[in-house]
């Protein structure tokens, strides 16, 4: 793990919901700072207590975290999707009066906060602008909770498809296209589509939609450029992906599928972290002698359960260890909800075989 941290400029932590992306990202960042680097960790929606103990808040600029055997520097920041998206819109717009219009569009409000890849987009946007600033040796990116890790990588494409597929053209001022015969033809075709859509949704909705697309059309150039820049950063040799997964058959299978997708996308998957893989007591190898038959029974059941998992893990690691370095982290005794928990986990990451 040490060499991975030393040789990377960007680490992207991906995985399905709740597996420990935020926790592991923070620990990797701390490790980097302990190795003397200037590190920034960009977190998405961390637990309130983690925020409090690290002293960070949504939308704030990066805050420096002190102490903890840090020989470099550690900065942390929480990504505020709404704010990042709004900022992007403001930068991408050439006309200020349009900015106001779009920020007030009801559909925009929905899009920018909750839907269809905007969180993913803003995480990448924030990553890129932090990278561009040149202030950090290493940036660790935590990613939003997606059902599937790969949604994260597809989101910007989905957003960009809006432009490349020319949806915005539909809603463009019709006069602009009249000079061109073919465009005119297309226009009359799309009119039918719009009429059908209007029959399904109503004119009120269509008005908002048209307004929305007319206003965002001007982002096209910026968005495409940004998507291109972000892509080059993500496939660069100094960027690595860390896939985090929990430990059961279903999730391991999912992890196998993710790693394939990550590789197919041309990204570098360097480590696969199986989080909360086993409880501490299983390692001690003691033979329990308890007077309580209930405790004894539970012990046997659990031992057997983890034994079977061990077997499925062996099969998994035989299939996977060509793909990436595999690390297993223990189930901690406490929630990792503050900096001391992060420190402890960092220690396990460093020591993990």
């Amino acid at each position: 793990m040490k060499s991975l941290i030393e040789n990377s400029k960007v680490l992207v932590c991906v995985g399905s919901g709740g597996v420990g992306k935020t926790t592991v990202a923070s620990s990797l960042a701390l490790l980097g700072a302990q190795l003397g680097k200037r590190v920034l960790v960009l977190t998405v929606d961390p637990a309130q207590r983690l925020k409090t103990t690290m002293g960070i808040e949504e939308g704030q600029e990066a805050v420096e975290i002190k102490g903890h055997q840090i020989t470099g520097q550690l900065f942390a920041s929480v990504i505020d999707p709404k704010k990042t998206f709004d900022e992007f819109v403001m930068r991408a717009s050439s006309q200020p009066e349009r900015v106001k219009k779009i920020l007030n569009n009801k559909l925009y409000v929905q899009l920018s906060t909750t839907l269809s890849g905007s969180q993913e987009f803003t995480a990448l946007e924030k990553l890129y602008s932090s990278f561009e600033s040149g202030k950090y040796d290493l940036i660790v990116l935590d990613t939003p909770p997606t059902k599937h890790a790969i949604d994260f990588l597809k989101a910007p494409q989905k957003l960009a498809a809006l432009f490349t597929e020319g949806v915005a053209k539909w809603f463009r001022d019709p006069k602009a296209t009249q000079q061109n015969f073919f465009l005119g033809l297309l226009q009359s075709g799309t009119k039918q589509v719009l009429k059908t859509l209007e029959a399904l949704t109503g004119s009120d909705f269509m008005k908002e939609l048209a307004d929305f697309f007319q206003n965002i059309e001007q982002w096209q150039g910026q968005l495409e450029k940004r998507a291109g820049d972000v892509h080059s950063l993500l496939v660069s040799p100094t960027t690595s992906f860390v896939l985090i997964t929990s430990f059961d058959e279903a999730k391991l299978k999912e992890a196998e599928y993710f790693s394939k997708e990550i590789k197919q996308g041309g990204y570098r998957l360097s480590a696969l972290i199986i989080n909360r893989a086993f409880p501490f007591w299983i390692q001690s190898g003691e033979q329990l002698q308890s007077k309580s038959p209930k405790v004894m029974n539970l012990y046997m059941q659990m031992k057997d359960y983890y034994q079977k998992r061990e077997e499925s893990f062996s099969r998994f690691s035989i299939r996977m260890n060509q793909q990436a370095k595999i690390l297993r982290l223990p189930e901690m005794r406490e929630d990792v909800s503050d900096i001391s928990g992060v420190e402890l986990l960092a220690k396990y990451i460093q020591e993990a075989k």
Binding site: P145, K147, K158, Q192, T201, G202, F280, E286, S312, E334
Partner: protein
Amino acid sequence: MIKSFQQEIIFVTGKGGVGKSAVAAGIALKRSKEGKKTLLVELGYQSFYTDYFAEQLKAPVAFSPVRVTDNLDVALWSGPECLREYAIYLLKSESIYKLFFENSVSKALINVAPALPELAITGKITSGPRHVGPPLRYDVIVVDAFATGHFLALLKAPQGMAEAIQFGPMGDQSRSIDKVLKDSNQCKYFIVSLPEELPTAESLELAEGIEKTLGAKPVIVMNKMLPVEVTPHEGASDFEKFLTNSQQRQNQALSLLGGRPLQKISFCFQNDSWKVVESISQEINL
């Protein structure tokens, strides 16, 4: 016999990885064993249950329901597919639909148009009581829904749309969907949680979010509870210390809940997924 039957709609949500899919399946299995025709629905583009129920299923899970066991079917619904079905139902013609929607431009639009997929999904889920769209002949629909934030977005979409769009079919549909979601005789909400401090705090936040959005009172399901009581004693083994510690954490988490409706599900130490689901179905109270 014409009887206005009351379809029961059960939503299961919670933080990522806490056991939503397993609990949703357990609830569905319980209802099916009571003799109710039950549909278990997963949302999105990729099926989880295809692998999870590999032993039971004869075909991969798809938009059209496939059989898991007696009285229990499972289906996978994505936004665009729900929208497609709804559009064909309204247009009464598949070919018109194809003409207008099966091109890359329309597809791109449907994929990103704000709130459209969310509306289509909630529309389909509530299509029974609203008598809109192709009939869903089930007594019970159990939805293995999105995780926390995304779930709230799903619930808020109809209300948000209803407010944004005053007139036209879109506004009307949105209002009728919202009404069903808010009807506590019709829809029930379960939040799966783990008996640990942080997940519990998050579940409470979600419960408040659901209450605020819908006025519904969700039930919190504490999943993976460790069953045995131990008393701390001298010379306790690592395992016993682990149990004592887990128990303390569990009790602490439970104490955060106050007087909220609560269900407990034990950790089932089986690596076979069907056994886990069966054990949940026996424990859960509906």
